[in-house]
């Protein structure tokens, strides 16, 4: 498992460079990638892939918001490399592989692909909305 988490850090740093991320976020990206994947693996011990993706997405988005605040950079810059390990590549491949075999399982994998992608987006949206609500609340409280 530790090896897998290190792999996530490596993959996310590679992905960040591939996506032309600013140089100074690379250490943070490695941290985000490994933490996010650790959260996924831990959650996956008791939940299915879809729920684990949601939980890991919440962790990654929350950390991205904190890092963005800290470094005065847009949240997206952290978020996009951070969620890379969650991208439903496995489910997409299984869909194609089963489809080629002519197996009915392809439908189930296709649904899983969409649900995982949806869960990534939903977890981002939940945290974004909470942060926005919190900002409004603190602004009103100070006036």
């Amino acid at each position: 498992m530790i090896l897998q988490i290190l792999g996530a850090a490596l993959g996310v740093v590679g992905g960040s460079i591939f996506l032309q991320a600013p140089k100074r976020i690379l250490p943070a990206a490695a941290f985000l990638g490994s933490t996010g994947w650790a959260a996924y693996l831990l959650a996956h011990q008791s939940f299915d892939a879809i729920t684990s993706t949601f939980i890991s997405g919440l962790v990654i988005t929350t950390l991205s918001h904190l890092l963005a605040r800290f470094s005065k950079m847009p949240v997206t810059v952290y978020l996009i490399p951070g969620v890379l390990p969650l991208v439903p590549g496995v489910a997409l491949y299984q869909t194609v592989a089963e489809f080629i075999k002519g197996s009915y399982k392809a439908d189930a994998y296709l649904r899983e692909t969409f649900l995982i992608a949806g869960m990534i987006a939903l977890s981002i949206f939940v945290v974004d909305s909470l942060v926005k609500a919190l900002e409004r609340y603190t602004k009103n409280a100070s006036i």
Partner: protein, 251 residues
């Protein structure tokens, strides 16, 4: 010389953001912030994934509207960060509008040298093979396969290939590569090798952004992006499928 208005700055900022793959919500927000800073009577900014519009009415003048069509989109996080920084500086009066326009024009296309970009692809792919639970044999085969993909990208960039064909052929290549390399070398799990090699082709970021756009109420941008993601995913799927079929015939 024509005076640089906030409208010009907002349009260029919006264009760079859309081209860099930013979510629509952020594009409109940034454009509106820049336009509002000009103390105009009313402003409106509207963004799609394929074009942007902005209208500004200055006090005592007629309304001005600009449209810009956007054809190409890639992902460039550094550009998003820099546009954000420049718009922040403009709105706190550190920069005036002509300085901001110059700064926006100076944003580089490439943050990293070409070779590092190639190496990053190999890093990304081999990192994913470990992440998916691959061991030493998978790592070796995947890295070789990644090298193959880097070469393929170099060729397609040179001939400026159609993106659909590019990802389909790329996916076929990595599927064939994964199995052939393994035939002559080691016993590795082909699944892991193929999945990690197709990571740079899969439109994961686009799908996520599409759903985010939709949840924010940007339905037009969300659906057009979703279609884009589906087309890319379909081409990758077709490519992998062709590869697997070919292998089925060969082996």
């Amino acid at each position: 010389m024509k005076k640089v208005t906030h409208l010009d700055v907002a349009m260029l900022a919006g264009e760079i953001l859309v081209q860099s793959g930013s979510e629509t919500h952020r594009v409109e927000d940034t454009m509106t912030r820049i336009l509002t800073h000009a103390h105009s009577e009313s402003t409106n900014a509207f963004a799609f994934t394929t074009g942007i519009f902005a209208t500004q009415t200055e006090v005592g003048k007629e309304a001005q509207t600009l449209i810009r069509r956007i054809h190409t989109r890639t992902l460039n996080l550094n550009a998003i960060a820099q546009v954000n920084d420049i718009s922040r500086k403009l709105c706190t009066d550190v920069l005036d509008s002509s300085q901001a326009l110059e700064a926006l024009k100076a944003i580089p296309n490439q943050t990293y040298p070409r070779w590092l970009h190639d190496v990053s692809l190999i890093l990304l792919i081999s990192g994913f093979s470990i992440l998916l639970g691959g061991k030493f044999p998978e790592l070796i085969v995947t890295s070789l396969n990644a090298g193959l993909l880097v070469l393929f990208f170099k060729v397609t960039d040179k001939i400026d290939a159609n993106p659909f064909i590019r990802s389909a052929l790329g996916a076929t290549l990595i599927t064939l590569g994964a199995s052939l390399i393994q035939l002559i070398t080691l016993k590795a799990q082909t699944d892991i090798v193929i999945i990690s090699s197709m990571m740079p082709l899969v439109p994961g970021v686009i799908i996520t952004t599409a759903i985010r756009d939709t949840l924010y109420g940007d339905y037009m941008a969300g659906t057009s992006r979703a279609v884009e993601a589906l087309v890319i995913a379909a081409s990758v799927a077709i490519g992998v499928g062709m590869g697997l079929r070919l292998l089925g015939g060969l082996l």
